[in-house]
Amino acid sequence: MFNQYFGYFLLKKGLLTNEQLYDAFALERSVRPKVGVLAIDAGLLSAAQVEEVHSLQHRMDKKFGEIAIIQGYLTQEQLENLLTAQKVRRLSLSQAVIDRGYLSLSQLETALEAYRRESNLSSEQLTALHSGDYDTAARAFIDFSRAGVEANLLYHYVALMLRNIMRFVGEEPTIDPGAPAVEGWLMAQNMTGASDLYTGLVMDEQVLVELARRYSGEVISQADALAKDSVAEFLNENNGLFVVNMSDLTLEYELQPPVIAENPFAAPVDKVFRIPLRLSFGQADLYVALK
């Protein structure tokens, strides 16, 4: 996750071109070992067990290792050893840009120092980004203090959305707090409960088509009804998982049917938050609002 945040910083600073950044991302991803593969390598899991855990990941808001422990396939100690091995064998974006010759070592060092300084992140927050912790990322980049006691609920919601974009769209999203609002199609869904929660995704047609195509696995080449419905269904499934998570905490929410509109996000409440999400193919704005 740090790779994505640092990568977009390099892009904004003009230190890398768009093509160079995505080439470096591709190189970094190509050598990133998965925990499941490492577990097979180590003789801890069979391929069938790994496939079963992958399958369960579609229905449970949990990481691979957490589910493997629940299923009794791995012990906590075995998982920690695998995660350590994963870190050791992971190629960082920094290494990728050096290997490709896009930056010199001294340019890289200067850029890293500038990122640490300008991002205002604490060492704990930087560590969280390195370890792929979406909850901490949400707290580092978004200020929900206006939501008062319900801020934790919103952080939980945003972290879940970030995880599900990764899980169902195959994209590691980053939060880009300074990005201007995008205009285009709105896919929205409300949840009623102790405090009503309004949610929505806004994106232009290009992002809509790409997000829909990746999520649905269907042949989608234009912003037609199927494309819009696919993004609405993604929001619906994300929100369904949120409702299940909340129910486990004894907070009951009722989902309302999703709606699709060309209008900007509008909720009949004061506490509206826009969270710009950067994806490799463009920006989507996530909206959350409380009543």
Binding site: R59, F168, E233, E237, G240, V243, L255
Partner: protein, 122 residues
């Protein structure tokens, strides 16, 4: 009964889900009927009496739990499988008490759909 003789009703407001379910079921020789909300689902059921229904819960006009109850009132032998993103314990209990034969949470696995369908249509 061979799969190709069985008709299955997919009641879901999502065009994507209806398409993906139709592709899956037709590839496995089932006849597929569609409805976009609970009201339509009850009406299609009354007219066609499909062997099995896959019923979403969160839908406009009439939700899936209401539709389930109406279908079971019309036909106590109806086989209705809930297919929903809201798989909370409350919804699960309400659906099973109302006569649903199974409950699958979205996002679903294809194998899970086919297994539940085979079991329900026995």
């Amino acid at each position: 009964m061979a799969a190709k003789e069985l008709s299955v009703l997919i009641c879901d407001d999502s065009m994507l889900i209806r398409k993906k379910m139709r592709d899956l079921l037709e590839a496995n020789d089932y006849q597929v009927l569609e409805a976009q909300n609970g009201l339509e689902g009850v009406e299609v059921y009354r007219q066609t009496k499909p062997a099995v229904v896959f019923m979403d819960i969160v839908m406009p006009q009439s939700d899936g739990l209401q539709a389930l109850k109406q279908i079971k009132q019309f036909d106590p032998q109806a086989k209705v499988i809930m297919l929903s993103s809201t798989g909370t314990a409350t919804k699960l209990v309400e659906a099973l008490k109302s006569g649903a034969v199974d409950f699958i949470q979205k996002p679903y696995e294809k194998d899970h759909i086919l297994t539940a369908l085979a079991k329900a249509s026995q």
